[in-house]
């Protein structure tokens, strides 16, 4: 009892004394201490969680809309099956494909992602700049052959390789073709059955004549409907240059060659098309859909206001989503002269690990899944793109309907952009030349000549290119 009393007494004493010594300084000390404690615990918290569960990997992409959804599905599937890695997909603002400024500045600032989805034709350039990690060791460690050509189709493997070393894992590829709205070409007196690819390859001049019949303007002189705007979407210098049989790079001379006769001839055709059918009205017609990141609903083909569209395999999916009621056909890209073989080109994306990635091991585990059979199969089905893994590409069960045409007829003869350490500059120069041509500001010869000159001054730093 006595003990209890005395302890009670001590306790009372403590309680009495405590308020007396609790002054403002103590309050501040206490607050600082509590703050420091909270901060320390807060900083510790994710580490504790991380230690207990999974490695967090950040994956950046510029994809939007359905593209982003398809990627997110793969990420979710990966996270579900992975026991040690958790990937967080982050959408960064879309920009020109050649613009990696956000990535570059983030990496320099030490806040870059672990995985980045990069347009494959830029890989060489970014690898040459030292922005990307060499994947050789990670591939070996994960039981993969660093020679990408073994598992991946050749051009994709070459695009992802710089200086003999793998810097990216190829993801998808894509092929360009001509889409046409059957009901609309009927308006121009064409039986859509005659445009079926089984009937052969069409001529660019015939396309031009048909398109002209479908152009309709309102009283203000604006197009309410157009046949074809050949520089819209995938109507690019590469598309027409390859179609005319041109080549864009001469390896032996280490020289870009947009000024070769065939490419210039393709430019001349575009120049005249614009001149004959009215470039200003065309520009106004497609402007909303031309902005980077423009939603598919802005697309005049999807709006049923344009009869023909030069685009790629992925548009099958977009049309199914946004305009399921359009009855359309897909055929080879036309040719300039009868008897020529149709040529198209392919691009595609890849996954890379930027320098300074915090979790390269986890990142590679994800990349192996994402660009491996699992990811590529999911993506092929969801997006109607073409896989780059040879084993997946051979799997016929992945393709159905119109997609089969791309795999069976177009893919075997497709070309690709030359993988150059000045790929972005060359792309921009070609685009500027292209605009000068279709805006009728300069002749194709002059515009392409300038593009060559401007790129050549830069490429010399990297010659010879192996």
């Amino acid at each position: 009892m006595t003990t209890t009393k005395s302890s009670q007494h001590r306790a009372e004493k403590r309680t009495r004394i405590a308020p007396a010594t609790f002054n403002r300084r103590d309050l501040v000390k206490g607050a600082v201490g509590a703050g420091a404690m909270t901060f320390a615990l807060g900083a510790q918290a994710p580490m504790i969680v991380r230690g207990q569960s999974k490695t967090n990997v950040t994956f950046w992409t510029t994809y939007t809309d359905t593209g982003l959804k398809n990627l997110t599905d793969i990420v979710n599937a990966f996270n579900k099956q992975s026991t040690d890695t958790n990937v967080k997909i982050v959408q960064i603002p879309p920009a020109e494909v050649t613009d990696s400024s956000k990535l570059i500045t983030a990496v320099r600032g030490g806040t870059g992602p672990d995985v980045y989805l990069l347009d494959r034709f830029i890989v060489n350039e970014r690898a040459a700049n030292g922005l990307l990690e060499d994947l050789t060791d990670l591939m070996k460690k994960n039981g993969m052959n660093p020679d990408l050509t073994e598992d991946y189709i050749e051009f994709a493997a070459r695009e992802a390789t710089f200086d003999g070393k793998p810097y990216a894992l190829p993801f998808d590829t894509d092929v360009r073709a001509l889409y046409y709205n059957k009901a609309m070409i009927k308006e121009a007196g064409i039986d859509p059955a005659t445009w079926d690819p089984s009937k052969g390859v069409l001529l660019w001049d015939d396309i031009k004549a048909t398109a002209a019949k479908l152009n309709k303007k309102d009283t203000n002189g604006n197009f309410t409907q157009a046949g074809l705007v050949p520089w819209f979407d995938q109507g690019l210098p590469y598309t027409f240059g390859f179609s005319w049989g041109g080549t864009f790079f001469d390896k032996s001379k280490c020289e870009v060659t947009p000024d070769n006769d065939k490419i210039v001839a393709s430019g001349d055709w575009i120049y005249n098309y614009a001149k004959d059918q009215g470039v200003d009205a065309f520009q106004a017609f497609i402007q909303a859909a031309m902005k980077p990141g423009a939603p598919p609903q802005q697309n005049p083909f999807i709006q049923k206001r344009m009869a023909m569209w030069i685009t790629g395999d992925w548009s099958i999916q977009n049309l199914a989503t946004y305009a399921p009621d359009i009855d359309y056909g897909i055929t080879y890209l036309p040719v300039p002269t009868k008897g020529m073989n149709s040529t198209t080109w392919a691009g595609g994306w890849s996954v890379v690990i930027p320098q300074g990635a915090k979790e390269p091991e986890g990142a590679f585990k994800f990349m192996k899944y994402f660009a491996g059979p699992e990811g590529q199969k999911m993506y092929t089905k969801a997006s109607s793109h073409v896989p780059t893994l040879k084993s997946v590409q051979a799997d016929k069960s992945l393709y159905s309907g119109k997609h089969v045409f791309f795999i069976e007829k177009l893919l075997p003869t497709t070309k690709n952009r030359p993988p150059l350490p000045v790929g972005a500059k060359f792309w921009d120069e070609l685009q500027t030349a292209w605009q000068k041509i279709y805006l009728n500001k300069e002749s194709a010869k002059q515009a392409y000549g300038e593009a060559k000159q401007n790129t050549q001054t830069l490429i010399q730093q990297f010659c010879p290119i192996t």
């Binding site: 990696s100 570059i104 320099r108 520009q283 300069e442």
Partner: protein, 324 residues
């Protein structure tokens, strides 16, 4: 001798006598302990600013200057290439186009900016009771970031549905495709810049407030009308403020970037590829051209500096600092 002059002379004499007494002659002298202490304290008081100034201005300028002699991608080690980046500017056609585009923009946007800001300032200065409301309305667009204004203009100047073109059509004018046509893209961007005129207008407004009312009254007694009062009283007395705006406007105009980045991406056909936009492309899009971009930045600084000097030198012919 005028009494005030006498006082001044005495003060001067006593000051120089004090200086002599301390054994200091000439303009430069060793600071006393007290002065040193004051200096250190003073520097300490402004040290947050000093550190910021050194870290975020002096060092980047020095670093840019150094980088301009190298080839550098932003990663790894820069390679020293001497004056090659500067030489390249002479041959680079795109650089010449960008420079021309920028001068074109500055030549239009800056003078128009002065006029717009002056009109706004005069409106903000109107002797009506509801003027605070007008001031707020006129200033409001300047609060918007250029980024947002660019998007607004994309919609306003849309060739098909844009309200500007609808308006022009009402008058039977065939409207242009503002951002899609090489002839109009730069002009459209000049127009966008005027949305930021509110900031300058506020400075102009302060200038207007500083003009003594008595001068207007005197002019009115002399029979001067509104136009004459503006030409002979307002405008001459506003010239110091206009000079300030010109220097600032030219410096900002030479750095035009956001509009072409958001709206036109330098196109069509390089018609809105401005200096800083091209600099940016070299730094962040084209591999390994950070050194070239740095050299471009150095040259832009020199250009801005030269134009500022030029404007200053002409200023004594048209700027009136004094009422008398």
């Amino acid at each position: 001798m005028n009494p005030s002059t006498t006082v001044q002379t005495t003060v001067d004499e006593s000051l120089s006598a004090a200086a002599r007494a301390q054994g200091r002659t000439g303009r430069f002298h060793l600071p006393s302990r007290g002065e040193r202490r004051n200096l250190v304290l003073g520097l300490l008081f402004i040290s947050p600013w000093l550190v910021g100034f050194l870290a975020f201005l002096v060092y980047p300028i020095y670093y840019t200057f150094r980088l301009s002699f190298t080839r550098y991608s932003g990663f790894g080690q820069p390679t020293w290439i001497g004056l090659a980046n500067y030489q390249r500017m002479f041959d680079d056609q795109v650089y010449h186009t960008a420079l021309w585009n920028t001068f074109y923009y500055v030549a239009l946007a800056v003078p128009i900016g002065v006029i717009v800001a002056m009109v706004l300032a005069l409106a903000m200065n109107a002797p009506v009771p509801e003027v605070p409301v007008y001031r707020t309305i006129l200033f409001m667009p300047s609060v918007l970031p250029l980024f947002a204004i660019s998007f607004i203009f994309l919609t306003l100047l849309d060739p098909n549905q844009g309200i500007v073109n609808e308006f022009l059509r009402e008058f039977g004018i065939h409207p242009p495709n503002w951002f899609g046509d090489t002839r109009y893209a730069k002009i459209a961007i000049v127009a966008i810049a005027q949305f930021g005129a509110g900031q300058v207008a506020l400075i102009f407004l302060a200038g207007l407030k500083g003009i003594p009312q008595s001068l207007y009254e005197a002019a009115m007694i002399d029979g001067a009308g509104i136009a004459s009062r503006f030409r002979n009283v307002t405008l001459p007395l506003m010239t110091p403020v206009i000079l300030y705006d010109l220097i600032l406007g030219v410096s900002q105009g030479l750095q035009v970037f956001t509009e072409s980045y958001i709206i036109t991406q330098g196109g069509p056909a390089n018609s809105t590829n401005f200096y800083v936009y091209y600099l940016y492309a070299n730094a962040f899009r084209y591999g390994g051209q950070m050194g070239y971009a740095a050299a471009m930045a150095v040259v832009l600084f020199l250009i801005t500096f030269a134009i500022a000097i030029l404007i200053f030198q002409t200023s004594n012919r048209w700027v009136h600092y004094d009422v008398t």
